[in-house]
């Protein structure tokens, strides 16, 4: 279709030496911002831990979503995204870094108990806690957390590693092997993410429960990591890499983003409507908290911003094929994902009204800088796309 096949099998990499300074600078800047945000502990410990959890869930979601796209590539035996897959592998491989972000939360669970109500000794005497105590207790919670982190870290590392080995030896069997293990791993991924979502987000209000919760959180995370993926690809394109990418790839990515916008709305609304219809006190609590004052406007913003705007914007074919429009929608969806998680976590701290303090912003920005530095470190060490993947040519010539 174009002259892009000329580039194939060339080891195109980011300029490692040039980026070294940038990576170090971003890492140091992020660490400094995070250290400054530690001052928040002196101001308001509770707010600090809530802000930290919100930020942790955001970056953890980006990593899990990325891992989902990698696994999905192999499960569906996809051809179209082979050219683009390496970048999402690079993001997924940041799991060990994100696990480090979880350490302050463990500190809170074990000693200060600001975050999860059920960790407090006085709550643990209550009947409604004792009914759930066999699942929600600190040792079991920690054991599960270790399991999730190990699984996600090892799987994302393994997928990227094998793909990179294939760059070296060109053996197509690596692809087949990854395809074979992807099926059971997809099922395990689903199970573990479900329990992760219950443990880390739903148990903030341990009396409350929603059966669609994990799927709902997952679609948000998958959509957001897709947006991040799109932004990375368009960024690389802007700097003159991945020239094989064309409007067909943008169109496919845009269609996926559109689908996940609609899926998110479907699940979020299902959850809301069933709770609204059932009208049972222990269920409505979640939405009542988010239905007053400032939080009400955030709820409205989610309906309009997370669903309606991207949905209408991505409906025509032309916007999906346009780099600039696609980048705009992707950044907006990424931002709305942060808003959504803020809306999930922060009403536990700011119960009366919506507030955004410097602690929240500095933690998100600090983690983001460290995250970006980690991504660039991962990306600069390997080829920009899997040069010996048997489906690379198919991916470059993709037409839909």
């Amino acid at each position: 279709m174009n002259d892009a096949s000329y580039f194939i099998h060339q080891r195109t990499m980011l300029p490692k030496e040039k980026l070294k300074g940038v990576i170090r600078l971003l890492g140091i800047a992020g660490s400094i911002v995070l250290l400054i945000s530690l001052l928040g502990l002196l101001v308001n410990k509770s707010e600090f831990f809530h802000a930290w959890l919100f930020s942790f869930l955001f970056y953890f979601g980006l990593c899990t979503g990325s891992l989902f796209w990698v696994i999905l590539h192999y499960v569906t035996n996809a051809g179209w995204d082979t050219l683009l897959r390496r970048q999402v592998e690079n993001v997924a491989a940041l799991f060990p870094l994100v696990v480090l972000f979880a350490l302050p939360i463990f500190f809170d669970i074990f000693s200060t108990h600001y975050l999860y109500e059920w960790t407090r000794p006085e709550i643990q005497k209550l009947k409604e806690y004792l009914e759930k105590a066999s699942y929600l207790n600190v040792p079991f919670f920690s054991l599960r957390a270790v399991l999730y982190f190990c699984f996600f870290s090892i799987v994302s590392w393994y997928f990227r590693k094998q793909s990179c080995i294939q760059d070296g030896d060109g053996n197509p069997l690596h692809s087949l092997k990854l395809k074979r293990i992807a099926y059971p791993l997809a099922i395990l991924f689903g199970f573990l993410f479900t329990f992760f979502a219950i443990d880390w987000a739903m148990s903030l209000e341990f009396r409350w429960s929603s059966t669609v919760w994990a799927f709902y959180l997952f679609t948000g995370a998958a959509g957001a990591s897709l947006s991040l993926w799109i932004l990375i690809l368009l960024g690389l394109r802007k700097f003159g890499y991945l020239l094989q990418m064309n409007a067909e790839h943008y169109h496919l990515l845009g269609k996926l983003l559109f689908a996940f916008t609609a899926l998110w709305a479907y699940l979020a609304f299902s959850q809301y409507m069933l709770i609204w219809y059932g009208n049972i006190p222990e269920e409505t609590d979640f939405f009542i908290k988010r239905n007053y004052d400032g939080w009400f406007y955030v709820s409205l913003l989610l309906v309009v911003g997370r669903f309606a705007l991207p949905f209408l914007f991505l409906l025509p074919q032309a916007t999906k094929k346009n780099e600039r429009f696609l980048a705009m929608v992707a950044s907006w969806v990424l931002f709305m994902q942060a808003v959504e998680l803020y809306w999930i976590v922060m009403p536990m701290e700011f119960e009366r009204n919506l507030e955004v303090g410097w602690i929240e912003i500095s933690i998100v920005v600090g983690m983001g800088l460290v995250f970006l530095s980690g991504y660039l470190r991962n990306a600069s060490r390997v080829c920009l796309y899997p040069i010996h993947d048997p489906r690379l040519q198919e991916s470059i010539e993709v037409y839909n």
Binding site: M273, Y277, Q317, Y399, N400
Partner: protein, 198 residues
């Protein structure tokens, strides 16, 4: 069975035994400026619409309009019963229904509780959108059409849905000339080139 006069010819049909040859021939024809040709194959060929310069399909317009019609009908359906009743209806209907047409009391929810309406709105939108998409596809394919000239070529009607690929250049094409086009098709690797009766 070969037709005598040029006006009697619907077009020239060429048979290919592989999809690659067909694609190559189609690309070449397109380069030569032919616009009125059709491809017949047992399965959809990716990218052929691009070669044929068909442009973006207009079926999506049908989907959009159908979806909007469905949404509107659904909106009317769910809200009409809870709409305030005009005064001249008072005699016709029972007068104790809070001035609404037919207020539904479900679990003490509001009459216009939009949350309960959304599933109806979604389903009606999807239903109408999918129906009108199918209608749009049939419309743009000019289906159902009981007679097609290409069926006069027996080989095509037997093999096009089996394991052969066919390319038919129509008489209507401005570049069409029975001898020249036949020569071109033969050069492009067609196994057989046949004039098809109208």
């Amino acid at each position: 069975m070969e037709p005598e006069r040029t006006e009697d010819i619907y077009g020239l049909g060429a048979e290919f035994d592989s999809i690659h040859k067909l694609m190559a021939a189609a690309m070449e024809l397109s380069k030569l400026g032919y616009t009125q040709w059709e491809v017949y194959s047992p399965f959809p060929i990716h990218g052929i619409a691009h070669v044929r310069r068909l442009g973006k399909s207009k079926v999506s317009l049908f989907s959009l309009v159908g979806g909007l019609i469905g949404l509107t009908i659904a909106l009317v359906m769910v809200t009409a019963i809870s709409a305030p009743r005009p005064s001249f209806f008072k005699e016709v209907l029972s007068s104790h229904l809070q001035g609404l047409f037919y207020p539904l009391v479900v679990q003490g929810k509001p009459y216009l509780g939009f949350q309960a309406f959304v599933p109806v709105l979604i389903e009606m939108t999807i239903l109408f959108a999918s129906f009108s998409t199918v209608i749009g596809v049939l419309f743009f394919n000019r289906m159902p059409s009981p007679y097609k000239s290409v069926w006069n070529w027996e080989r095509l009607s037997q093999k096009a849905m089996d394991d052969r690929f066919f390319l038919v250049v129509e008489n209507a094409d401005p570049h069409f000339s029975e001898d020249k086009t036949k020569l071109i098709l033969k050069q492009l690797g067609a196994q057989a080139v046949v004039s098809i009766r109208r």
